[in-house]
C-alpha cells in the first residue's frame, strides 16, 4: 500500500513538473495573463481609481470588494460553527 502511495505521488509530481515547463517565465512580458486587456487596464488605472499603489490590494478591496466581504463572512461563519460544535461549556 505504501509503495502504491509513493508511486502515485511520484507520478503526480512528475506530471506537474512536466506541465510546469510550459508555464511562462517569471515576469515574462509576453505571457497571456500580462497581455490580457484587463491586466493592462488595472496596471494603467488602478492607482487613480482606487488610490492604493498595490494593485493586488486595489483588486481585493476595491474592484472585488464584494467578493472579499464574502470571504470574511466565510471565515466568520467557520469560526462561529467551530464555537457551536466544539466549545466546551461549563456544566
Amino acid at each position: 500500500m505504501k509503495a502504491l502511495a509513493l508511486f502515485v505521488v511520484v507520478i503526480t509530481g512528475a506530471m506537474l513538473i512536466y506541465a510546469g515547463q510550459d508555464l511562462p517565465a517569471f515576469g515574462d512580458i509576453n505571457s497571456p495573463s500580462y497581455q490580457a486587456p484587463m491586466t493592462q487596464y488595472f496596471i494603467n488605472n488602478s492607482l487613480e481609481e482606487s488610490g492604493v499603489p498595490n494593485i493586488v490590494t486595489a483588486l481585493l478591496a476595491n474592484y472585488r470588494g464584494y467578493d472579499t466581504l464574502g470571504e470574511t463572512a466565510v471565515i466568520f461563519t467557520a469560526g462561529m460553527a467551530v464555537i457551536l460544535l466544539l466549545r466546551r461549556r461549563e456544566t
Binding site: S50, G51, G65, T68, L69, T72, F76
Partner: protein
C-alpha cells in the same frame, strides 16, 4: 506543566517577542494598501502572537488576555466594520462598496485609500478573533492544559 512551559528561556523570549509580533501584525495590516500584506495576513500574525502566548503560559492565561466573550465580540465587529463601510457608500449615494462616493475628502482616490485601510482593519479583526477562538476551542480542557497540542 510540561517541559517547554517550564523553560525560563522560552518564557522570557516569548514575553519579549509577543509585543513585537503584534506590532508587526499591525504593520502588515496597515501596509496592505501600499505593499505586500493585508487584513488576512496581519490578522493571522496577530492571532499567532496570542496563540504563542497561550501555548507557553497556559490556556487560562491566554483567556485572561482575550476572553471568550470578547473574542466573539471582536469576530463580529470586524465583519460589521466591513459591511458598515459598504453601507455608508450606499447612504452617500454610491453603490455598495463604491468608496469614492463618500464625501470625506475632496480627493476621491484618497477617500478610497483610507476606506480600503478601514476595510483591511475589519478583515484583520475578524481573522484574528477566529484564529484565537479556533485555538481555544480545540485546546484540551483546563485540567490537562499543560499538554498543549499543535
Amino acid at each position: 506543566m510540561s517541559g517547554i512551559q517550564e523553560s525560563v528561556i522560552i518564557r522570557t523570549v516569548v514575553r519579549i517577542m509577543v509585543p513585537f509580533i503584534q506590532l508587526f501584525a499591525l504593520y502588515v495590516i496597515m501596509h496592505g494598501a501600499s505593499g505586500p500584506g493585508g487584513g488576512f495576513q496581519g490578522g493571522v500574525i496577530f492571532g499567532a502572537a496570542i496563540i504563542l502566548y497561550a501555548m507557553i503560559f497556559g490556556i487560562s492565561e491566554g483567556k485572561k488576555k482575550i476572553s471568550d466573550s470578547f473574542d466573539r465580540i471582536l469576530a463580529s465587529t470586524g465583519l460589521t466594520i466591513y459591511a458598515a463601510t459598504g453601507l455608508a457608500c450606499i447612504i452617500f449615494g454610491g453603490m455598495f462598496l463604491q468608496y469614492s462616493a463618500v464625501p470625506l475628502l475632496p480627493d476621491t482616490a484618497l477617500v478610497s485609500k483610507y476606506l480600503i485601510d478601514l476595510v483591511e482593519i475589519g478583515i484583520g479583526i475578524t481573522v484574528l478573533a477566529v484564529m484565537i477562538s479556533l485555538f481555544f476551542d480545540i485546546s484540551p480542557p483546563e485540567s490537562e492544559a499543560g499538554e498543549v497540542e499543535e
